[in-house]
Amino acid sequence: MHRTLRKMLPNRHGPEITHSQAQVDRFILDRVESVPHLEALLLVWRARPQAWSAEAMARRLWVKPEVAKGILADWERDGLLIRLSGEEKYVCHPDTAADPLLDAVNDSYRREMIRISTMIHSKASAAVREFARAFRLKKEPE
């Protein structure tokens, strides 16, 4: 792009990368169960503090409503989303401690969607990992 024009644009360095690629990958390997799971989380996160309904999520992700409900419930159990009382709507947890990480994940997924999708597809399912985890006697905070 023309040098002068570029100088006229606002300073765009992208989000502050406070989390390394390794940390993003670790988050995805440990806590993301599937590609729809990741996309659902990022959709709700990007829209914060707005809530997403399970129905709207099902339409957006092209999955059945029960599947969308399950995905959002999974994230609620993981602690990153909160379900609004009485409704089938989910919003991002107000605790902003996870924001830099989710920001990095969001950025990463946008830039390297194929690598991250491949990574998610090649890991064992959450059910298998939970099978092994069930035998951990001391419950360390995950």
């Binding site: 159990r77 399912s125 959450a126 059910a127 298998v128 939970e130 099978f131 069930a134 035998f135 006697l137």
Partner: protein, 85 residues
């Protein structure tokens, strides 16, 4: 010696069942439900060996034991096939 193995077997399978069913309650993953039930059934089967050989030696519970084990393994295979992905 055989009864020692049976007791160990019953305790092991029962322990696995408890851990898996607790895990199911926590994570809602069906695989843990089916495998938990399988191990519980195997524990019952182990206990039936003791019943068969010690408590009611005049009655043959072999088929009942085998049936219990087969049912348990079927539950496990059901879970492995349908709910492990």
């Amino acid at each position: 010696m055989g009864s020692a193995v049976n007791i160990l077997g019953a305790l092991t399978t029962l322990g696995c069942a408890i851990l898996l069913l607790k895990g199911y309650r926590r994570t809602q993953k069906k695989l843990l439900l089916w495998s938990g039930l399988c191990f519980f059934g195997l524990a019952i089967s182990n206990f039936l060996i003791f019943v068969d050989l010690v408590l009611v030696p005049n009655v043959n519970l072999f088929e009942l034991r085998l049936g219990t084990t087969l049912l348990s393994m079927s539950l496990l295979l059901y879970g492995l096939i349908w709910d492990s992905r």
